[in-house]
């Protein structure tokens, strides 16, 4: 379900050169990405 897929994508995933990706096509593409990025401050449970 597309909607389900949108919710599941970590917001930090970005294609090179793109700003803040919204829901939709990027969500489907993101499922196939081999590399995902996040800031070291992007995980819950640390100060």
């Amino acid at each position: 379900m597309t909607e389900q897929a949108v919710m599941e994508v970590p917001a930090a995933v970005t294609e090179p050169g793109e700003q803040d990706p919204g829901p939709g096509d990027e969500a489907l593409v993101a499922e196939e990405l081999l590399v995902e990025e996040v800031s070291i401050d992007g995980m819950c449970g640390v100060y």
Binding site: G17, V35, E37, I40
Partner: protein
């Protein structure tokens, strides 16, 4: 603390060149994981998740190959999958995890 900017700035960054030689940046730590690997850049404080072991193998062999394309071939990446690996390497270059060799 010094923070380095991530690679080429802004939208429209150059597409990744598979035919250039690349290497892992000196400030990057690579840690293998069951699912692939984690990369951490001590300059940018960014973390990259490599989601399979093949892309890790490609990454680790980059410095020894005359091009990223040949590193992918040596790691067994089939032609059909190459665009996905190119996109992965482009992401790593954009965030300064890998840099071009002279």
């Amino acid at each position: 603390m010094s923070t380095d900017g991530a690679g080429p700035a802004g939208a429209g960054a150059a597409r990744f060149d598979l035919d250039r030689p690349w290497r892992i940046d000196d400030r990057v730590a690579v840690r293998p994981e069951p699912f692939g690997a984690l990369l951490y850049h001590f300059g940018t404080r960014r973390l990259s998740f490599l989601k399979n072991t093949t892309v890790l193998a490609v990454l680790r062999s980059l410095a020894e190959h005359p091009s990223a394309r040949s590193a992918c071939a040596a790691a067994g990446v089939p032609e059909a999958a190459l665009p996905a690996y190119e996109r992965a390497l482009a992401t790593l270059a954009e965030s300064s995890m890998i840099t071009e060799r002279p």
